[in-house]
Symmetry: C2
Subunit: 368 residues, 2 copies
């Protein structure tokens, strides 16, 4: 049975894990706290990919602090890895350091680990306890978990609308519906995403850069920006093509326009589809490219397509305290005729962001 002290230490490890949310991708953000005789002797968080995981950071910190971790308890938010990736296996490092107990929030869903880190620890005589604050630990790396389990990234659709659910005037005029605080908040969703997906209509209408511009987020690299552009209408001088960061333009068939886009630095990829780009194929591709979380920032048509195909894991809606009126454009293009076909959601979080309201929903039914 975990003690209140165990819970407190795991909560601290979770805090460390969260601190890495913007910089560890494609690796999960993990936190580790080492405790000896009731005293924290070292703590660490996973560093950018290629650098140390949280456990190694914590061991190094303990030694730097002049402590020997022998006999310590390690509180870790995710099962320590047992495979040698870019860094050595963390379970081996913990065993060699002589820890006597490991309290682990969540088993690693990565098939390359799959309980083997826990087994290695247990076989070395370390007392292992699994499951403390498991839900909270899963919430730190939802995209990584989904990719490991399903091979697909988590899809988060961000929308900004008026109280009457409108995203732009009929003319297309839309800047700005939400206030500066909401727009700054969007930077954080971008910062934690491996890819940002938009549609060519948004590129043409708003010409956004879709970059992470908040230096406080300390991201290792810009997320991959993806433009869904069936017939390659992206202007070769679009803001999104400018550095920094990679751009992927996905079309249904290659046309002459592809050369100019490639010269501008973009990757052009063909994904055949009946009427528009094949979204499940796109997501599978992003999963293969180790994208954990996808942020979809687009107009009502593409957002409606993601919803219509049950591809949305999370819906983030910023609602501005304003009425844009009944002629304005809808939140999502989603034709529904009878109440029984409505798309129920669950409200997971609501908070004020400046003058606006931010709501986070998940689909009430599982995506098909």
């Amino acid at each position: 049975m975990p003690t209140p002290f165990d819970t407190e230490m795991m909560a601290r490890a979770l805090q460390l894990a969260r601190s890495g949310r913007y910089r560890t991708r494609p690796n999960p953000a993990v936190g580790c706290v080492l405790v000896l005789n009731g005293e924290v002797i070292g703590e660490g968080a996973t560093q950018p990919a290629g650098d140390n995981h949280g456990e190694i950071e914590a061991l190094n910190a303990a030694r730097t602090n002049g402590f020997d971790p022998r006999g310590a308890t390690a509180y870790v938010t995710l099962e320590p890895c047992s495979h040698t990736g870019k860094t050595g296996p963390c379970s081996t490092a913990l065993i060699e350091a002589g820890i006597s107990r490991a309290v682990i929030a969540l088993q690693d869903p990565n098939p390359a680990v799959g309980g083997s880190g826990i087994r290695a620890l247990a076989q070395a005589g370390v007392q292992v306890e699994l499951g403390l604050l498991e839900t909270e630990a899963a919430a730190v790396n939802p995209g990584f978990l989904k990719r490991m389990r399903a091979g697909l990234p988590l899809v988060r659709v961000k929308l900004a609308a008026s109280l009457d659910g409108r995203t732009a005037m009929a003319s297309g005029e839309s800047q700005w519906i939400t206030g500066p605080a909401a727009r700054a908040d969007v930077q954080r969703w971008r910062g934690r995403s491996g890819a940002i997906v938009t549609g060519v209509d948004t590129v043409i209408a708003d010409n956004p850069a879709l970059t992470v511009r908040d230096p406080a987020l300390d991201i290792p690299a810009q997320p991959l920006r993806v433009v869904l552009d069936s017939s390659l209408r992206t202007p070769a001088d679009a803001e999104i093509l400018h550095p920094p960061g990679d751009v992927l333009i996905v079309c249904r068939e290659r046309t002459a326009a592809a050369d100019a886009l490639e010269s501008a630095g973009a990757e052009v990829l063909v994904l055949p589809g009946a009427e528009r780009v094949d979204l499940p194929a796109l997501l599978a591709l992003l999963g293969q490219r180790e994208v954990n979380e996808v942020l979809v920032e687009c107009g009502p048509r593409l957002a409606g397509a993601f919803l219509d195909q049950h591809l949305v894991d999370e819906l983030v809606v910023y609602t501005a305290p304003t009425l844009l009126g009944s002629n304005a454009r809808p939140l999502v293009d989603l034709p529904i005729d009878v109440m029984k076909d409505q798309r129920r959601l669950a409200l997971n979080d609501v908070r004020r962001v400046g003058e606006d309201l931010r709501m986070v929903f998940t689909p009430a039914e599982e995506p098909a």
Copy 2:
């Protein structure tokens, strides 16, 4: 300078005032606490119209408790009345009881009182302090204050919509978008209203009773139900015509249908208007009838008309966690073409009500 103890006592008086919110109309809900030597000797809240005001209740309570209020401090949420209405003037009662100090949150905006209660107290040698928790006191009786100042009731429009701002399917199908907790919450807005206004389209489509059915609210009488019905299309067997409570049907000109509606117990009133019922004239009429707060529960067309004419003081929106899609009916029929004509609001309150979210807005600009 008010002491922390003064503030505590006034907060208690406000609590008493709020307890009367559903039963004092058309009078304001007022609370009074009497304190002698640091001890509460009596407290009271305004009773249903015709019965005692809060000050008299508090004096009676003190005497029932065996205390003499001589030398006491009275904390009152609204200036004690000095006119003889259905009950004797409260300022006189306080003076005759020999209180030595009166702490009053808010001056009475009623032209029949207008500072005269305060003057009477001061002239009798009572030490008067005005303004403690004034904003909070005003918030207890917003409709009464508006009616006293402008001769018009406060207009509160209640809407229930999906996350994408839709109130019904294109077919009109709409029951139920919000959950039982939200519908129960609406009872409280009805309970504090002197009148509930709807449109004939809602009567025909949903056939609502629009009554207060929550016995816990202990209302003195059903609010007046008002149907805006330009050409008298209300069916003579509509639910809204059934007892309990009075019904006012407002048309643009009297037709043969009026007789059947009158036989069913309704009052039929003609308010000429160009295309629809003259809303400002209707509100003036309700003000004359001593309605403090009007709750508008209607479809997007009528709600849009109230908004379009800048007649809305408060917008209460229940948002259900669901998408009804882009074919569904809008939140309000309000044609706007350019962003600069958007109708900005201020979000005053947001809370979860069951699965739904309740938001209360006021117009960001003053009604014209």
